[in-house]
Structures are given as C-alpha cells and as structure tokens.
Amino acid sequence: MALQSLDIKARSATTTPTPQARGAIPVAKLIDISKCIGCKACQVACMQWNDLRDEVGDNVGVYDNPADLTAQSWTVMRFSEVEVEQGRLEWLIRKDGCMHCADPGCLKACPAPGAIVQYANGIVDFHEEHCIGCGYCVTGCPFDIPRISKKDSKAYKCTLCSDRVAVGLEPACVKTCPTGAIVFGSKEDMIHHAEGRIADLKERGYANAGLYDPAGVGGTHVMYVLQHADQPQLYADLPKDPHISPLVALWKGVTKPLMSLGIGVAVLAGFFHYVTAGPKEVEEENETD
C-alpha cells in the first residue's frame, strides 16, 4: 500500500522538497487527561493492532507497566500522584507516546533518506526498512519518544496507526478508549472539542485548564487537555516548552551545508593553488651549490 510521494510533506535526509501540490486535512489525536482513568486499553489496543508484545516485566512499586516506552511499547501510561491544592490528591495519568510534531526533531536528525516521513495529514511515521539504526532520531526528539530495538537496531515509535488512517479509520488507541479520553479527527475539530472540554473543566474549578499544543515544535498532531496547563511538568515531566535541542538544530542546521561547503572549498583551494602557483619542484642544480 505505497503512498504516492505526493501525500508526503517531508522525508528524512532529503534536501529537496517533496511534491507539495496536493493537500490533505491535518489530523490530530486529542488526549483529555481529565477523562483518563489510566486503564491502559490504549496500550493493549496498540500492541494488538501493531502486533507488538513487550516482555512481561515486574512491578517496581508503581502502576506504570511497562515501566517505559520500548521498541515493543509505543505508548505507556504515566501515573503521577500530586496535590496541587493542599490536601486534595489528584491522580494525573498521562498517555505518553509520539506527539507527531509539525516540526519533527526526529525527522530533522535522521540521516537515512526516507526512514522518517511526515505525511501531508501530519502523521510522522518511521519506515524501519530504511532505518539504519544510528539513533539520531532519539537525539532529535524533544519528548524522548523513539526507541531503538535491541532485536534489530531499528527505531520504533507510534505511527498514529498510519495504516488505519490511510484507509479512513481512527487509530487503534482512539477507538478503544473506554471513556472517550482519546478522540481523533481533523486538527481543527480537535481544537474546537478541546475548547469545550476546557470550558467544562474551568467550571469545575480548574482555573488553569488548557490545551497542550506546543508552539516550540510547530504544534503537534497529538494534543493534551490538561487540568493544569500552567504546569505541564506535573504530568510525569511533560516539557513546558518543548523544542528541538539547539545543539541538534546547530548540527542538523547550518553546520551541515557549511561544513560540506568548507570541505569543498578546501579541495578547490588546493586545485587552484596548484594551477596558479604550480607545484613546488626541486631543481637539482639549484641544490647542488
């Protein structure tokens, strides 16, 4: 089920733009943490749809299982017990996984052409058959999402069920979510839906309820409704202002062409020096005096 290149907005390690004539409606997944009961149905639906089975781990004193994202677990629930208001416990449960950034750091960092693509609808997808296993995507991601498989040294992460979305279905986690904490649709509709949820939360006393759609990465195609949008770090260290690391931006930004140019210039400089100044030859008679 190859997509035509026209449906692709960006492709890793590709220096020219992909064909952009056709557009697509940007999609988004909205995760309303105020509705999330942390049941992990999304985790199971993800492993079922994507044919993944992580190892049976152990309990390490928390409800989080598997304890972290892995090449086999593309989404995990992160549980935080907090008291924002003294004496009023809140159990904040965040579904962690790829945020599908509009400006994806993974794609920016990836050196393998076509290993990471961004579709016109906003989904950022890994194509493992092109992945070389360098792990650069890990350095590029501001959310610490991609994981390199220990089995095959390829990078894996949530695809936003690109195969389901491509045939007009919602992602598996969205479909399964029992409470409707995860919803899916056009990004515009999701923002609208979020506004309704935020108004409801504000009525219920969450003055700082808000939408998490961070501008630092150009917005995301996975967004959160947070009860405490002023403190995203409460939610298992969700970054307050995520952006591609300046080091990665430097490395994959200006340095790439400039350094290549520098090498080219050096070679050319040698060439022109040779044809202008000429070789340094030793004339034997000169040396024999």
Binding site: G135, S245, A266, V267, E287
Partner: protein, 205 residues
Amino acid sequence: MSQLIKRYTSKERSNHWVVAIAFILAGLSGLALFHPAFFFLAHLFGGGPWTRILHPFIGVLMFLSFMVLAGRFWSLNRITPADREWRKRIKDVLCNRDRGLPEVGKYNAGQKYLFWVMVICVPLLLLSGFFIWQPWFAPIFPVGVIRIAVVVHALAAWIMILGIVVHVYAAIWVKGTIRAMTRGTVTEAWAKHHHRAWYRQMTGK
C-alpha cells in the same frame, strides 16, 4: 640524479597507510551519515545499516593505528622557534618563494601543526563517537550528553578532514614527497631543499 635518503622505514610507512585507509573509510562512511548529499557513499559499505555498523569499528582502528603513529613521531613534532619564523613566512612558502626560509628539520611547522591537530581530533572523535555508538553504548547515556557528542564528533571530523585535505594536497603539490611514504626514500635534493636541517643530520654534510 641525486642520491636517495631514507625517510621512513617500512613499518612507519605501513602504519601511516593503515591510518590513511582507516581515515578514508571512516571519512566516507561518516560523510554518508553526515549529509544526505553524501548518503550515496553508504552504498560503498553495503547500505545504511552496514555503514552505521562499520563506521565506529573503522574509527577505533584509525584511533589505535594513529596512536602508534603519533607515538613514533611525537618528539619530532615539537614546535621550535624556527618553526615560528617559518610560519611567519607562510606566504612565501605558498608562492613557492623558498629562498631564505629558515632551515627545517624532519618536519616543517605546517606538518607539525597538522600533527597536533590530529592528536587532538582523533581522540576527541573516539570519545564523542563512544557516546553515540549504537547499539552498544549510546543507550547508556542521557540524551543531553549524546546531543553534545554528536556536535563535537561532527566538528572534530570536519577539522580533521580539512587538515587531511591540506596534508594530501601538500603531498601532491610538493613534488617528490609521495615517494617518501610509498618507497620510503627521498632524493637528496628534495631533502636539502625542504628539510635542510634534517638533510644535514642524515648526511652529515
């Protein structure tokens, strides 16, 4: 024809070429991973994953062989006051106005500076490469460290590549030089012209 003078032993020559080959392979594979324009070079190594697998091992080989080489030539590369004088006249050198240049030992200042650049860059590449080596070591380190490492690695590699471009060009430019590393000998005339102090030392003239 003037007499020939021994400049490098066979061991030294082999050592140099091991470093050189490792550098070329590491450089080509590194460039493949550095910029999409060079990704085609990955095909030389059997594709992207092989490039990623082989590059660090080649790098380690380069490091080890370079360390031996550096040990061999360490003392010959100490910078002397004469080198500073030579450096001041680098324009004359470049314009082939060699008359009146200070007498040069086995290595001129340019060669020495290159040596020390290599001595800094090669271990730096090894160290930074270690942090980003998938799948063995990178998973151990926090992503912040890896992000610094990738930048350091790229910078060090770039400086080293520039240095080697100069090094290779100098060998081509200064006629009679390449045979020193291929056959181990140079002509007396060459030695006398470029490395007079060394020439005296070798010949006693």
